[in-house]
């Protein structure tokens, strides 16, 4: 068991059809249990990095080690399974399938990974526990996801990211649609549950104000050696 959950080395990625790489990353590490704030203005290659760590795309060059496993060497379906098993994802907004109820949305990752479903135990109960922990009252659980406010939806997304205790939670600007009070509250709840689950958090945002709350913060704009054409 390595100390670092994520270890990125000499990473470079060029989107198909593009002439130059959007991301050139000599090194990035993420310690187990760490909460890392990655400052990523638009155009800094943050989407690409998240897609790479999420195993949605394969690095052109370099290595992404996730818990000692080189993601680039896994086949597409293996990476998909890996993601379902070990990763929780929170987007900026519109995280949920609107036609599913809240609890079914939380359980979604368990539908794609048996291992994760197993870790969650009784999925319904676990989903309920997480929703409660994210300050969502039981009367909301059976509502359609799109009946909830944006702030509530983001908390549902957080509960979903955390179900089945994934090793890593990727958060892509999850607070940008929230006002500052809610942002604060959201972070508190998220941190508490990430810690409870023993997960590692990679939080990407362009809002530097939040950085101070994290264990460590980095600027992707500085780390990325690609010549950004903005």
């Amino acid at each position: 068991m390595t100390e670092n959950l994520i270890h990125v080395r000499d990473l470079s990625y060029t989107w198909p059809g593009d002439a130059r790489p959007v991301l050139v990353l000599p090194e990035l590490t993420l310690a187990r249990g760490e909460k890392l704030f990655l400052f990523g203005p638009s155009g800094s290659g943050k989407s690409t990095l998240l897609a790479l760590i999420g195993g949605l795309i394969r690095p052109g060059q370099g290595v992404i080690e996730f818990d000692g496993i080189d993601l680039g060497r896994l086949s597409g379906p293996r990476r998909d399974r890996f993601r379902a098993e070990h990763l929780g994802v929170i987007f900026q907004q519109f995280n949920l399938l609107p036609w599913l109820d809240v609890r079914a949305n939380v359980i979604l990752p368990c539908r794609f990974s048996r291992a994760r479903a197993k870790r969650a135990g009784n999925m319904q109960t676990e989903a309920g526990r997480l929703l409660q922990a994210m300050d969502l009252a039981p009367e909301l659980w059976n509502r359609r996801a799109d009946a909830l406010s944006v702030g509530q939806q983001q908390r549902v997304a957080a509960a979903r990211a955390l179900i089945g205790n994934p090793a890593l939670v990727l958060a892509d600007e999850p607070t940008s649609a929230l006002d500052s009070d809610r942002r604060s509250r959201f972070l508190e709840l998220l941190f508490a549950q990430v810690e409870a689950a023993g997960s590692t958090l990679l939080f990407v945002s362009h809002d530097r104000e939040l950085a101070a709350r994290f264990d460590r913060h980095l600027d992707l704009g500085e780390l990325n050696r690609a010549e950004v054409v903005a």
């Binding site: 998240l50 897609a51 949605l56 994802v89 399938l97 609107p98 979604l108 539908r111 794609f112 994760r116």
Partner: protein
Amino acid sequence: MNLLRLALGSLLNRRFAVVLTICTIALSIGLLVLVEQLRAEVRQGFYRSVSGTDLIVGARTAPVQLLLYSVFGIGDATNNISYQTYRELAELREVAWAVPMALGDSHRGFRVVGTSQDFFEHFRYGNRQPLNLASGQVFDDLFEVVVGHQVARQLGYTVGDKIVLAHGTGRVSLQQHDDHPFTISGILAPTATPVDQQLFISLAAHQAIHIGWETGMQRPGASIDADAARARAEELRPQSITSVLLGLTSRAAVFGLQRRVNDYRAEALTAVMPGITLQELWRITGLAEQILRVVAGLVVLAGLLGMLTVLLTTLNERRREMAILRANGARPLQIAGLLVFEAGLIAAAGIVVGLLLALGVQFLAAPWLLEHYGVHVGVSLPAAGVWQLLAGIWLAGLLVALVPALLAYRRTLADGMQIRT
């Protein structure tokens, strides 16, 4: 699999578009099945009606025309044949039975056929079934009539009712043979052939009601009363009849006899084999059927293209949905599979609804076809060929869905985790 529930949820969420698409496909399938079913059923119905008759003999005319007017009551005879000829035909060695038919009168839109008792005894339909009486008996008196099942049912007749026959075969007859009311002596059991649509009187009665009508109109003061007519029954030998249905002792004799009748010296005659003449009829109607089939096929194609359109348009709206599924661990293949599954479900629903629609229309149209054309259309399950066609269409639906599925597959690979809108 859990994915099925996701697909169903997604479909339900877009139920309006989905239901419309299903309707489009259902209508096209309904049309296709209906065309096929009616085609098969109409043919079946025509064959049923003539299956027991070996030859039909009438005045020289086109075979199809002779068949249509003498058996199906479609169109009118242009010429008659002499009674003498009928007698001669009946006497022939190869002829087992001969049923004369004298047409030209009607009763409230139903054809009246002047015939002999041989008709009830020898006529066969369907699977060589004989005619049965549901109630009453065959006509005995000059002014008695036997009515078909539909005639009795639609007009509410029972045995003993008195009815008036009309001259001519129009639905609305201004000239009534009201000087000679007939008594219903019997009602035939249903046969699902034109017999159900007809009334039967004796040849003598046919002759009797036309006394004084030789010019086609009633000559004032020329009619005779019923008793006088009965008294003269012996001499009421008709001069001519419309056609003769023949049953032969052996089917092998049919070609030889047909040739001999066609070469008959005393009179210009046409003898037709019903089955072969029907084939000829189908050749004539075949082109129209083909056109209908092509049109129905094109409509089905339009239905499938409609589904493709809907799937493609929703693909853009659903990009977010797919990104969410993908971020939570769905494989591109699973997402493509969702689309194919969806299309399969829509196509299957469309086919089932369309099938029910076609059978429903068939069921509803059957009485109308029976009443207006004397063609019995049963509501039967489609033939094997139709099922194969439907299976083919379903597969085509899946194939069509490969287009959006492939797009979704490639897009989910290219989009990464980002939700691009």
